[in-house]
Amino acid sequence: MSDPAREPPSLAESLAVHAVLLAATAFALYPVLWVVSLAFSRQQTPEPRLLPLPEQPTLEHLVEVVGASRTSSDGREVWLFGRQIVNSLVVSSSAALVGVLIAVPAAYALARFEFVGKRSGTNALLATQMFPAVAGAIPLYVLLEVLGLLDSRTGLVLCYATTSVPFAIFQLRAAFEAIPLELEEAAMVDGATRFEAFLRVVLPAARPAIAVTSLFAFMSAYNEFILAATLLGKEELFTLPVVLQRYIGEHDANWPAFAAGALVVSTPVMAIFYWVQRHLVAGLTAGAVKG
């Protein structure tokens, strides 16, 4: 990112920036240290401490969670946790994919077209986010039963995808609006149809926003628990949040195992974010306007 047009930041400024970022990182990581300590301690002694280091360090909780397996009816050993992590990743990425595929054209229409019902449609979209569905799992259960999609990951994908659509539409509409109209017009002057211009010019320019929106859709599906627990009826189909929630009992909870599981669950998210954030660099649209 060396850019001759820009003066390099002074040393004092760099130091100040790093000081702020380091402080924020400490704030972000400190509570997680407690989770780490919980996950890797054989024993926790309650006493006021500032630095939570694992006591009698052990991997047993991690092994307990990750190694969870079951003997199936035909006598084979099934590595449950492996299947469930695959479920989670497949369900959440499909949900993100379907959700964004639904949202992208709709957001484009809202950004670029005038049409009857635009304002009331936008309001209705916003309204979906405002109603706290306290017992929301039960109506969806009935619906999926009618559709014959109970007990399947497809049903879950559809539910997750649609719940992420309203936010995705808002996010993407703002991104499309930020893209200069001249880009499409130039393409259409060159003979492209509106749809081709949308596909070849607008979508590539909106890549960062699409990546971030997909991440949001992925995250909301990846951490959801109550729908997954209600709609799925087979342990092989469970997603990770359901599996983790199993460590919370009615009277007591296996917190060390839960903590270990939570850390395992969050690693794919960080890996995905690492990949996504490389596409998030200011000034990406620079060259495109000139071209």
Binding site: D3, R6, H18, T25, A28, L29, W34, V35, Q43, Q44, P46, E47, P48, P52, S94, V98, I102, A106, F113, F115, V116, T128, M130, F131, P132, A133, V134, A135, P139, L140, Y141, D151, S152, T154, T162, Q171, A174, A175, I179, V212, F225, I226, G233, K234, I248, G249, E250, H251, D252, A262, V265, S266, V269, F273, Y274, Q277, A282, T285, A286, K290
Partner: protein, 717 residues
């Protein structure tokens, strides 16, 4: 585009599971884990019956049953605690299960009987008992007052005499029993009131004030204290023994002691775990055979051998295991938990009273009388059934008006032209409309319609606007009393404003810093700063709660350190006062939420054209001018939707409040949506009332955003 869609359909279709068609196995659901799950698997494996076992999280168990069984899905058999039977019976989730009843403890049989009908087959009995740390106590004490007398040595600092979850009504029940009281009388009157109840609370308060019992102890803390040998005694159930397997502490289990002043025994509540049958399961011979087998002597022996639980049978020999024997003895002294649905309404008011007394903000008598009022209020009969005619007339009028508008508009040529001009846009929208209409709007409308009904599941009636009137008139009480709609609304608004303000300030600052073109370790910072968002909040909220613990929390460690440096600070009981409890909630939620705003900011900044910045630089603008006059205006439009939605989500963010302060003190930190959840899940499943809260929340939010948009437009023009 079409190819992509087709590929997607194939992908989605391939995910669909194939359903087993032939002879259906018996479906058995349970919420066991660890040794108990292993014992159940062992019993099922050797049963010779084809069984499909499903372990469901305890949190989702009741919801899942209520969703599945009425539609003929779900389990044939399920294992649950007997006290749920009353609810399940009313919702039609259980059917009578005829199995021979010889060899069971009479108390266990009584527990699963409602109105003379045997609804389930008892498997095991669970109650709390006294854990005695052999390294600190010479013998098992017979009286509560003797706990100190049997100690081997005086306790060191950091050690406690008796660890138990003092804030929980379930754990306070034995104290109450020693004073002749009960939480609920058999005629469904609230029992936690009166002189005996007051004396039991005075005793609990005294134990905590003298430092013998740790304050604000949750299950995790009790386990940690006893496991690390820092508690001489603990009151807990068999689940604690499961956590002590590999610990160094040597211990014994005995029935709870007596309280000397009354001579009464501390009788714990007894839970009988039983196998229950759904209506379908009760009609299947294989399911009945499996139920009988699960309850058999052989199965009981297996459960004792693997999971060390006390059987509900009296004809199995107790193993030579002092823990099982201790719990078996304790179970004989226990009172079965009432099956009545009224029990569900007991916990919340009782626990509020206990907490108020323990943190010193109320005297026992006042707190308990308030608890009784709250119990009676929740239990008051639903409003009378209303006529449906006004609703039908209203719907009819709305449909008529809609139809008329449609007709009038379709005659209008310019409107027709507009619609035709809109057709290209509709092509981009149609699938979103269909998907959202079916899977988002339909359930929402169904959920909103429930707000016009009242009563518990299975006996709901249409009541018109009665729920709304009740909420808006604060159920007839003072309009600004604790827990009234208006006061909770004020808390919710403060909660939303503070959180969103801090989310945006912190998130945007970090986002801007992380978008600098020259920044070392940018990727590392970015990834580390989203960690609060990536780790499931259930466990991080618990970590935060732990850090705020008065005795053992990190915040207390910090104040101790600061005091050593000469700063005058006392450890704070964070959840005893509104301001500090609210601050704890906000801190946790800010921590959880700032990464979202940070990522949104970073994404918005990617749309900054570099030329604009460079041009500004050439013109000699200062950094700050460049930021406020160029960056902010360009970025703002793409941030506004996220900030607005962030505000809406924060308004309805109940789980942080639930997990960190739990509404303490006395429900003052609850927000509107947590009230809705309490009505649905802890106050007798009054879904209609909860839905009315949801509709009001919706109306508020929608009204505010409409107003905001109007002012925004006016400001823009």
């Amino acid at each position: 585009m079409l190819r992509a869609l087709a590929a997607l359909l194939v992908l989605v279709a391939s995910l669909a599971s194939t359903r087993a068609a032939s002879a259906e196995p018996v479906r058995l659901w349970h919420a066991y884990r660890g040794a108990e799950a292993r014992a159940l698997e062992e019993i099922v494996r050797t049963s010779g019956i084809e069984v499909e076992l499903l372990a469901v999280p305890a949190d989702a168990f009741a919801t899942k049953l209520a969703a599945a069984i009425p539609h003929g899905e779900g389990p044939d058999l399920f294992i649950d605690a007997h006290e749920r039977l009353g609810d399940y019976l009313r919702q039609g989730l259980v059917a009578e299960l005829q199995v021979e009843r010889v060899g069971y403890a009479p108390s266990a049989l009584r527990a699963v009987e409602i109105e003379g009908r045997q609804l389930a087959v008892p498997l095991s009995q669970k109650c709390v008992a006294l854990y005695v740390n052999r390294a600190l106590a010479r013998r098992v004490p017979t009286d509560l007052e003797d706990l100190e007398a049997v100690l081997v040595r005086p306790l060191a600092s950091g050690e406690v005499l008796l660890a138990y979850e003092s804030r929980s009504a379930y754990y306070h029940a034995p104290f109450l029993a020693a004073f002749g009281g009960r939480l609920l009388w058999p005629d469904e009157r609230f029992g936690f009131v009166g002189q005996g109840a007051e004396r039991s609370l005075v005793l609990a308060r005294e134990l905590q004030r003298s430092g013998k019992v740790p304050g604000n102890a949750d299950g995790a803390l009790v386990t940690q204290l006893f496991r690390s040998g820092r508690a001489a005694f603990a009151v807990s159930g068999p689940w604690l023994a499961g956590d002590l397997g590999d610990a160094a502490v040597q211990y014994a289990v005995a029935p709870l002691p007596r309280v000397r002043v009354t001579g009464g025994r501390m009788r714990p509540l007894l839970t009988v775990e039983a196998v229950m049958a759904s209506p379908r399961g009760a009609s299947r011979p294989e399911a009945r055979a499996l139920a009988a087998l699960l309850a058999s002597r052989e199965a009981a022996a297996t459960r004792m051998r693997i999971a060390h639980v006390v059987s509900a049978r009296t004809d199995v020999e107790l193993p030579d295991d002092p823990v099982v024997r201790g719990f078996a003895e304790a179970a004989r002294e226990a009172d079965p938990m009432p099956t009545s649905a009224a029990m569900r309404a007991v916990w919340e008011p009782s626990e509020k009273a206990i907490r108020k007394v323990l943190n010193g903000s109320a005297e026992p008598r006042a707190a308990l009388e308030e608890a009784k009022r709250r119990f009676d209020d929740v239990r008051r009969p639903p409003p009378p059934e209303a006529s449906r005619r006004p609703l039908l007339v209203l719907i009819g009028l709305a449909l008529l008006a809609g139809a008329l508008t449609l007709v009038r508009r379709s005659r209008d040529a310019s409107f027709r032209a507009e619609v035709v001009a809109s057709l290209p846009a509709y092509r981009y929208l149609i699938h979103a409309v269909l998907a959202l209409g079916l899977l988002v709007f339909a359930p929402l409308v169904a959920g909103a319609a429930i707000s016009l009904t009242a009563g518990r599941p299975g006996e709901t009636v249409y009541v018109g606007t009665a729920n709304f009137i009740d909420i808006l008139t604060a159920r007839g009480g003072p309009l600004l009393a604790t827990g009234s709609f208006y006061l909770v609304l004020a808390v919710t608004v403060a909660w939303t404003v503070l959180n969103v303000g801090l989310h945006v300030t912190i998130g945007a600052t970090l986002g801007v810093l992380l978008s600098r073109p020259v920044l070392r370790m940018r990727a590392a910072y970015r990834v580390l700063l989203i960690v609060p968002w990536a780790v499931p909040s259930y466990v991080t909220a618990l970590a935060w709660r732990g850090m705020f613990h008065r005795q053992f929390g990190a915040v207390t460690a910090l104040t101790t350190k600061l005091r050593a440096l000469g700063v005058d600070l006392e450890p704070i009981d964070w959840f005893a006062r509104f301001a500090t409890a609210f601050a704890a909630n906000v801190t946790t939620n800010v921590w959880l939420g700032f990464p979202f705003m940070m990522v949104v900011t970073i994404a918005a900044l990617t749309s900054l054209p570099r030329e604009v910045l460079e041009a500004a630089e050439v013109d000699g603008a200062t950094r700050w001018q460049r930021f406020t006059r160029i960056v902010v205006p360009i970025v703002r439009p793409s941030m506004i939707p996220s900030v607005a939605l962030g505000a809406v989500w924060t308004f309805n963010m109940f789980n942080v409040v639930f997990l960190v302060s739990g509404g303490e003190p006395d429900g003052q930190t609850d927000i509107l949506v947590s009230e809705a959840y309490r009505w649905a899940f802890t106050r007798q499943a009054q879904y209609g009332y909860a839905a009315a809260y949801s509709v009001l929340i919706f109306a508020l939010l929608f009204g505010v955003t409409r107003l905001g948009a109007r002012f925004g437009r006016r400001a823009a023009t």
